[in-house]
Symmetry: C2
Subunit: 355 residues, 2 copies
C-alpha cells in the first residue's frame, strides 16, 4: 500500500490560533510554506500578528469574526485558542492541519526532521480499522498487514476522518499532573499509527491535528472557552468526544500516533488549574454521557448528528450546570453558521470533485 | 510507577507445546532456566523430547493426558500445539508464560537481548485501562502518564489478566497473506504497550503470551484443533475471543505490544491454508457472534462465564457447522476437568496468599 504521498497543496489549509512566536513559522517553513495558512487571532484585535515573508495567509481577528458571523459570532470563543475552529469554518479545502505556535519540528530517532503534515496526509488518505484490533498496528503501512485471525470482510477498512498526532518533550498533561510531575518529558518515539476502536473515546488534543473537513468538519467545534466562560482547556476534548461519537455512528475512522511534533513549552500549571477546575469534575459525568450516547438512523450527515447531539447535551448535561445549556445552543448556532458559509450546493460539487 | 520487576520465580510456570529445536532452550537459558517448565508434547508419545541439562521441567505426552483426564481428555487437541492448554490446567502457579519453540530471543533497537518474560511480568503486574484510550500508551510506564482529559476516576485502572507479546522477523500472518507476501518481515520495533479497549476484539496469538492464571486461566482453552478436527490455527484465536469477552464482563484488562520475540521460521503456507480454510469462512460469523455476546450478572466467575459462553456457542454457532456443537461440549468438559484439577478450596487459599 506504500506509495508516494500526494502533497494535496490545493486541498489543504493550515489553521493556527494566533502566532506569538516568529521562530515558529521559520522553523516550519520548509514544510508549511507551500500551503495556505488561516490564522485566527485569539486575543486583542488591535494587536498586530507578524507573519514572515513568503507565507500565503489570511488572518482573522475578533472584529472579522463578528463581521462575518454577526450575532452567531457568540459561538466562537474569545481569548482562547478554541477560536481556531472559526478557521475550519471559513476554509474551503477538503483537509485541515491545525497546530499550535509552541509546537516545533521534532526529529525521528535517526535525527531526521519530521514532516508532520506529510504523515497526517498519509494517515488521512489510508483507511482506518475501527471494528477489530490489529496487533501489528496500522495494517496499511509498508511492511505491515492484517495479522492471522483478522476477518477478511473487515480488511477494506473505513474512510479516515481524523489524524491525531502526538508530542515529544512536553507531554499534554492536565494541571494536576503538571503540578505533580513538573519535570516529566516525553522522550519515547513510538513508531506506530493506530485506529481508535469503535465505541472507545479518547482525549483529542488540538495541538497537532489533521482532519478531513468534508467528512467531519461540522463536528470539529471547539466549544465555548476562555473569556466569560467557566471552563478552559477542554475545547479540543469536547470536539474529540463529539467527533468520536459521530465517526462511530457514520462509520468513519480516527487514527492516533505518528506524527510527533516537539512541544517546546509547558503552559503554567496554576493558570491551567483555574481553567480546568470545573472540567475535572464535569468530565466525570460528561464521559459516561458520551460513552452511552447513541444517534438515530435519521442522522445521516455530520450536521444532523451534531444537532441531535446538541439536544442530548441540553437534556442530559444541562442539569450539571447552566453552562451546558448555553453550550448546546452554541453547538446549534455553530451548525447554522457552518451551513451559511458552506452552502450545500457547494458541498455537493466538492464531493463530486473528490470522488 | 516504575520499580524493579519481581522475578516471581515461585509464582510462574512456562508452558511450551513440544520442543523440536534444542537451540530454543539454549538460547532462552539466561532468562528461562530459573523457572519451572511444563512441556506438552503435541504428537507421537513414543518420540522422546530432549531437554538440555539444568532445566527444571515436567513433560506430558498424550498417554499422560489420557491417564490424568480419563474420558475428559477428548477436550485436549492431539497433534496440534493447541494441546498446550493442558499445561495451563496442570500448573499450580498464578502466572503462565507460553512460548513456541520457533520463537527466539529478539534484540531491542540498541542491540540488547530482550528478556520477554520480564516484560510480560511488568505488563501483568501493572493495571490496564480498558475504559478510555490513553494516547501516550501505557500510562503506568516510566516517563508516561494519563494525558489531559483522561477522567480521574478511571486512573486506577483494572487488574491485568493477559499480556500479549509481538514478533519481529516473521509476522503472524494467515495463509493467504503468507502466500501473497512470502518475503514480508516485521522489522519495526514499536516501543509501546497498550490496553485493548473494552468491547473491542483482537486476534490473540499464542506464540508469546503471558497471563494471570488465577484471574483468567479457565478461559484459556485452546479448543479442538488438529487430529480429527476440521480446523487448525484458530486455537489461540478462539481462546482470545472468549478471553476478551470474559475480561470485559469481569472488568479485567488485556494488554498488547511489548515484549517482542524473534520468530525464526514461517510455517508452510500451503499446509496452513488447509488448516485455516474453514476458519476463514467461519470467522466471518464467529466475530459478530463474539462482538455481540453478553454475559449475565450471575456469571461472576471465569468458570460460570465460560459455561454460559459455551451454551451460546452451541445455540448460535451450532448452525454454522456441527463442529461448534462438539466444541461447545468440549468447552464444558474443559471446565469440569479444570475444576477437578483445581478444586475451589485450593483456589481460595491461593487467592488469600496472593492478596
Amino acid at each position: 500500500m506504500a506509495t508516494a504521498v500526494p502533497p494535496l497543496k490545493d486541498e489543504l489549509d493550515i489553521v493556527i490560533p494566533t502566532i506569538r512566536n516568529l521562530d515558529f513559522l521559520e522553523m516550519w517553513r520548509p514544510f508549511l510554506q507551500p500551503y495556505h495558512l488561516i490564522i485566527v487571532q485569539d486575543g486583542d484585535p488591535s494587536k498586530t500578528i507578524k507573519v514572515p515573508d513568503g507565507f500565503d495567509y489570511e488572518l482573522y481577528n475578533r472584529n472579522d469574526i463578528n463581521r462575518i458571523l454577526g450575532p452567531r459570532s457568540a459561538c466562537i470563543s474569545f481569548k482562547d485558542s478554541a477560536c481556531r475552529c472559526f478557521g475550519y469554518m471559513v476554509s474551503k479545502k477538503k483537509y485541515i492541519f491545525t497546530i499550535d505556535d509552541d509546537c516545533f519540528v521534532a526529529s525521528d530517532p535517526s535525527g531526521k526532521p519530521i514532516n508532520a503534515l506529510n504523515q497526517h496526509i498519509k494517515n488521512l488518505l489510508c483507511p482506518s480499522t475501527p471494528l477489530f484490533f490489529n496487533t501489528l498496528y496500522d495494517p496499511y503501512r509498508e511492511g505491515a498487514d492484517f495479522v492471522r485471525g483478522y476477518p477478511f470482510s473487515l480488511r477494506e477498512g473505513v474512510p479516515t476522518a481524523v489524524s491525531h498526532g502526538l508530542w515529544l518533550n512536553i507531554p499534554d498533561y492536565d494541571a494536576p499532573t503538571q503540578l505533580v510531575k513538573p519535570r516529566e518529558r516525553n522522550t519515547r518515539y513510538v513508531d506506530a499509527v493506530m485506529t481508535i476502536p469503535k465505541g472507545t473515546l479518547f482525549p483529542m488534543c488540538g495541538m497537532n491535528l489533521g482532519f478531513d473537513r468534508d467528512l467531519i468538519g461540522p463536528a470539529m467545534y471547539f466549544g465555548l472557552m476562555g473569556d466569560g466562560q467557566p471552563i478552559g482547556r477542554y475545547d479540543d476534548m469536547w470536539a474529540g468526544w463529539c467527533v468520536k461519537v459521530i465517526c462511530d455512528h457514520l462509520g468513519l475512522g480516527v487514527k492516533t500516533g505518528l506524527p510527533y511534533i516537539w512541544h517546546s513549552k509547558a503552559s503554567n500549571p496554576f493558570v491551567n488549574l483555574r481553567k480546568e477546575y470545573n472540567g475535572i469534575f464535569w468530565q466525570e459525568e460528561i464521559i459516561p454521557f458520551f460513552q452511552s450516547a447513541t444517534l438515530s438512523k435519521d442522522s445521516t450527515t455530520v450536521q444532523k448528528c451534531y444537532v441531535e447531539l446538541a439536544k442530548q447535551v441540553r437534556d442530559k448535561l444541562g442539569k450539571i450546570d447552566p453552562y451546558f445549556v448555553k453550550l448546546s445552543d452554541a453547538m446549534e448556532t455553530w451548525i447554522q453558521a457552518w451551513d451559511d458559509l458552506n452552502p450545500p450546493a457547494k458541498l455537493a460539487s466538492t464531493a463530486k470533485l473528490t470522488k
